[in-house]
């Protein structure tokens, strides 16, 4: 993405870009801290069809949402950590997840998916480290699992994700 930057003396700075979808977007950062975002007409690139103004605070918050940087542990559903091909992921068990209310052994996660469940973070009771095959997963639990990228992807699709929507 090509971003043009220029100074607007007495007002602030202007950043201008055309997105892959051919939308002309202009962002103005005012010296007083406000930000403005304008979107221009596809046919007439001199007529802005919409514009929003953000305060400094709003702009920062918005930027972190846009950038996917929001980190709010309370509502955390999943995060992952990758070391070469090894992935460690956190997943919250949903009521509708296939694995909810089942034991790890019932799906034989280790053999079927080549995945190790490292720990189960229980909401009410004690957390389980290195849970055995008879450990039961209750909705609301968060499981920490590790494995190769493709295996993690598969277990997520088969056992965890379906209950998401």
């Amino acid at each position: 993405m090509n971003i043009n930057e220029c100074e607007l003396p007495g007002i602030g700075r202007k950043f201008e870009t055309i997105t892959a979808n051919n939308d002309r977007i202009v962002i103005i950062i005012h010296d007083d801290g406000n930000r403005e975002v304008y979107h221009y007409d596809d046919n007439d690139d001199e007529e802005s069809i919409s514009g929003v103004t953000f305060t400094d605070q709003e702009a920062r918050q918005f930027a972190s949402i846009m950038g996917g940087m929001v980190y709010q542990p309370k509502t955390l559903e999943s995060i992952n950590l990758a070391i070469n091909d090894l992935i460690i992921e956190w997943h919250k068990i949903d009521v509708k997840s296939p694995i909810a209310n089942k034991t790890i052994g019932e799906y034989d996660v280790r053999n079927n998916y080549n995945i190790t469940i490292i720990a189960i973070i229980k909401k009410e009771t004690e957390n389980l480290l290195a849970p055995g095959p008879d450990s039961r997963l209750v909705p609301g639990d968060t499981i920490i699992l590790s494995g190769a990228r493709k295996d993690v992807k598969r277990i997520y699709q088969d056992l965890l994700a379906k209950g998401r929507d």
């Binding site: 220029c6 003396p9 202007k14 403005e36």
Partner: protein, 413 residues
């Protein structure tokens, strides 16, 4: 004397009222302050219970206004940077030159045409050439046009215009404030003001390192005292060598503009600039007897028409040169024609030098009209463009039909 604070307080109340009112209607506060200043003042009838003539406090209000000028120009100096101008590119330099040259030459010609002397004509040329940075920036933000293509060019031209203002004020103050009437002493006095200006430029360039170190003050309290002391001292000192105090303030700002502290100073100065600046416009209004406005009405209207035309034409030339459409180019002139603080400051220089008394009502009317008409035409720029387009036929009128046609047959990529 007991009522001094009360009188100043009353004046501030009027200023606050004008500011509040202007804010409510999203208009520049400058015309409101001038009008209210004119309505009250020594020419107003004494209402008895409250004295709106401000006779005892006139001196102190004028003084506070003078401080306003210092802050306005100090801030202008701070904002101003030669690097910025060099980086801004040829379109801005070209547009700025066309803009300033056209307005200045037409203004000078107009001054002679209405039968004024050489110095008066020069002052008028200066007045019609300097756009109001404050009004233009406000209008652009209020109308949400900061993202538009032409805005870059508009603000660039204004930056260029401000530099012209600095040079013009320096030269004029040398011309007008010299005490002798012989040509030689006038030349010397102009050379002194130009030399004085260059001295500050050199200090700003060479001394940045030392200024940075010297101003590296942690405490805001000490920092602001040091900066303001410098501002007032240098402004006052300049006056003693026949360089207007406003220029002293401008040059001091310029000297600090290249330092790393310039942003911190700007932030500290803005509230002072806004407060004392408002008093300046009010005190300018106070100094005008509304009955003298009639003398200047025709000459002001003529100058307004001239300014509107030359701004639109210069804006069109600058915009087309930068590759903008006719519509965007017409916006340039319509936006940039607002006149305000700097026009009054130029006029004040002429008034201080006791040039023709018509300058005062002329400057008041001229600024009043353009401070209101400028933002109005900016707001209605589409209508103005459609009107112009009918005459010049630059482009097919924009209708729903033509947009539809465009969508059906997209231009080749």
């Amino acid at each position: 004397m007991d009522h001094l604070i009360f009188e100043v307080g009353t004046a501030l109340l009027i200023v606050a009222f004008a500011a509040y009112f202007a804010g409510k209607f999203k208009l520049s506060i400058i015309p409101f302050l001038i009008i209210l200043g004119m309505v009250v003042g020594p020419h107003a009838p004494d209402l008895g219970f409250i004295d709106l003539r401000f006779i005892d406090s006139a001196e102190i209000i004028t003084f506070l206004g003078r401080i306003g000028v210092l802050f306005l120009l100090f801030y202008l100096g701070l904002e101003f940077s030669v690097d910025k101008l060099i980086k801004s590119g040829k379109n801005i330099v070209y547009g700025g030159t066309v803009y300033v040259a056209m307005n200045f030459i037409l203004g000078l010609g107009y001054g002679f045409l209405v039968g004024l002397g050489f110095y008066e004509a020069l002052i008028i040329a200066g007045m019609v050439s300097v756009s109001s940075s404050a009004i233009v920036a406000k209008v652009l933000v209020d109308l949400r046009r900061t993202g538009n293509k032409e805005t870059e060019l508009i603000l660039g031209i204004i930056l260029f215009d401000d530099i012209f203002l600095a040079v013009f004020l320096s030269v004029m103050s040398g011309l007008l404030l010299s005490d002798n009437s012989s040509t030689l002493s006038t030349v010397i006095s102009v050379l002194i003001s130009i030399g004085y200006m260059l001295l500050f430029f050199v200090i700003a360039r060479v001394g940045t390192k030392y200024l940075n170190r010297f101003l590296n003050i942690k405490s805001n309290e000490v920092f602001i005292i040091v900066v303001f002391a410098g501002l007032f001292f240098i402004a006052g000192f300049s006056e003693t060598i026949h360089v207007a105090e406003a220029i002293g303030a401008l040059l001091f700002g310029l000297m600090l503009s290249e330092t790393v502290h310039s942003e911190r100073i700007e932030k500290l100065v803005v509230p002072y600039r806004d407060f004392f600046g408002a008093i300046f416009f009010f005190s300018f209004g106070l100094s005008i007897d509304p009955r003298t406005l009639g003398d200047a009405i025709w000459i002001s209207l003529g100058a307004v028409i001239l300014t509107v035309l030359s701004n639109v034409i210069a804006g069109m030339i600058a915009g087309r040169n930068a590759g903008l459409s006719h519509k965007a180019s017409s916006n340039i002139g319509l936006t940039i024609m607002a006149r305000g603080e700097f026009t009054i400051i130029v006029a004040n220089l002429g008034i201080a030098a006791q040039l023709s008394p018509v300058l005062k009502p002329f400057s008041a009317l001229y600024v009043l009209i353009l401070a209101i008409l400028g933002p109005f035409l900016t707001k209605e720029s589409s209508k103005v463009f459609n009107l112009l387009n009918k005459v010049f036929k630059w482009q097919e009128p924009i209708t729903k039909k033509s947009i539809k046609k465009k969508i059906e047959s997209p231009p080749d990529a």
